[in-house]
């Protein structure tokens, strides 16, 4: 084994085993109740409002790609895009999905197309509703801002990895009078979303959004399994606090192994 990763490997195993155990329990029929997330509840209301007003629903899966540590945020956004697209297809609203990373484009197109098919509204599907704008961060932001303001979007859903463009896009949505639901695990961008958006999914809520929205008991089992991982983190924190208070660095040393 490589040096310095033993503790990480053991921790990963503990977290994975905890989550898989709960997934298996859910498969065997155990049901879990997960608290409701206000932002998710608001998505249907936002799509309904856009339908009544005959205006656009904007969705962005963020500006992260499908590789590296931020990929999970893009996948989380794409999981929720399926739900949003189904609602849009069901209500007959207009959807616009803005894309910054080229490799996300075919995935988003397929998700939206399948959602329209699932709702039996494939004739209403417009390939133009998923659009690649630019791979340049601020060119993408400028394009999204322009589209939101020109089309007077009634809803703007921003779920994924965002950086400096988060506030620009959110402010554009605010000034267009859109209901805004945003979520990111990028800690530095969450305050901007809190300031400018109506609902914000913070950190783990973003990753859980697709699972909770689906209501699938197996997916909900995996969310419940996260509690084991949190318990493990809490135990480590308490041991670390006690050790540091007693002047011992054994946990820091252990983590470095």
């Amino acid at each position: 084994m490589k040096t310095g990763v033993v503790f990480q490997f053991v921790s990963l195993l503990i977290v994975c085993i905890g989550i898989i155990y709960y997934i298996q329990k859910a498969r065997n029929g155990t049901t879990y109740v997960i608290r409701k997330i206000a932002g998710l509840e608001a998505i249907e209301e936002a799509v309904g409002r856009a339908t009544e007003m005959g205006r656009l629903v904007h969705f962005s899966p963020g500006i992260a790609g499908l590789d590296g540590v931020t990929a999970a945020q893009t996948f989380a956004g794409l999981e929720t895009l399926g739900m949003v697209a189904k609602l849009v297809a069901r209500y007959g609203a207009r959807l616009f999905v803005s894309i910054r990373v080229a490799i996300v484009l075919p995935l988003a197109e397929e998700i939206v197309r399948q959602a329209y098919m699932a709702e039996g509204a494939i004739e209403a599907y417009e390939p133009e509703c998923v659009q690649y704008l630019s791979s340049q961060q601020f060119a993408y932001a400028a394009a999204v801002m322009g589209i939101i303001q020109r089309e007077k979007a009634a809803a703007s859903i921003l779920l994924g990895g965002f950086w400096a463009e988060s506030l620009m896009v959110a402010e554009a949505g605010f000034h267009a009078g859109a209901i805004q639901i945003a979520g990111s695990a990028n800690i530095t961008q969450v305050p901007f979303f809190v300031a400018a958006c109506d609902y914000v999914l913070i950190g783990e809520e973003l990753y859980a959004a697709g699972a909770i929205a689906s209501g699938n008991p197996i997916k909900l089992g995996s969310i419940a399994g996260q509690d084991i991982a949190k318990l493990y983190a809490i135990i480590l924190l308490v041991i670390g606090i006690l050790g540091a208070t007693a002047g011992s660095n054994f946990l820091v040393d252990l983590m470095g192994k």
Binding site: Q73, E79, I99, L105, A118, E128, A195
Partner: protein, 208 residues
């Protein structure tokens, strides 16, 4: 649905190789991991062609139908084709090719970034309104932090920098770490759902 099963199997095997490579020093796994990541880069580059097709299709249709502000689409396609032609002739390191980037893209990007200050002011004006106890706490904390950061704060009261440091290092850091731990665990759970084929939304598919 068979193709979905194949994609899930490929995802699982490739992810497993990359995970094993992160923890164990096994030569053939390391070589396979590098190869997989190289293929990822190649596929991502090919996706740019798809993106270009998407842009050309949408904007040429807009020009053909004379849809609102279609002249912007003309400008976009013109710049796109001209810059591509220059890149093919002059290469991406050429002086002519970089002229456009250095004199148009870079200043425009910097301008957008600079505009962020106004968006922050606009959002802060709304956020820092004491409409509830929560927002009042936010207002007070933010005011103290700003005064702690600005030299004038220390001139008013010498304790401002210390209070600011405490706010940033204790309650702020505790909240940030809580969110980061939760986010990390959430990302692992999402990864497991994808690898186990439970989450198939990104494949355009239904549930397990």
């Amino acid at each position: 649905m068979k193709s979905q099963g194949l994609m899930i199997a490929i995802t699982f095997v490739f992810a497993l190789i990359i995970i094993i490579d992160a923890f164990f020093a096994i030569d053939f796994i390391s070589a396979a991991s590098t190869e997989i990541q190289n293929w990822g880069t190649i596929i991502a580059s090919l996706a740019l062609a798809l993106a270009a097709v998407n842009l050309i299709r949408i904007h040429s249709r807009r020009i053909r139908l004379r849809r609102g502000e279609w002249y912007n689409s003309v400008a976009l396609l013109t710049v796109m084709f001209v810059q591509t032609a220059i890149g093919l002739v002059n290469r991406s390191t050429g002086e002519v090719y970089n002229f456009g980037f250095n004199n148009i893209m870079t200043p425009l990007g910097a301008t957008m970034y600079a505009l962020l200050a106004f968006w922050i002011a606009s959002a802060a004006y709304r956020a820092f309104t004491a409409r509830s106890i929560d927002s009042a706490i936010l207002l007070v904390a933010a005011t103290v932090v700003m005064l702690g950061n600005a030299p004038i704060g220390e001139s008013i009261w010498s304790a401002f920098p210390s209070i600011k440091t405490w706010i940033m290092d204790v309650p702020n850091m505790a909240a940030q770490r809580g969110i980061m731990i939760g986010g990390g665990i959430g990302a692992i759970a999402l990864g497991l759902r994808i690898l186990m084929g439970i989450e198939r939304g990104h494949l355009g598919g239904s549930d397990e």
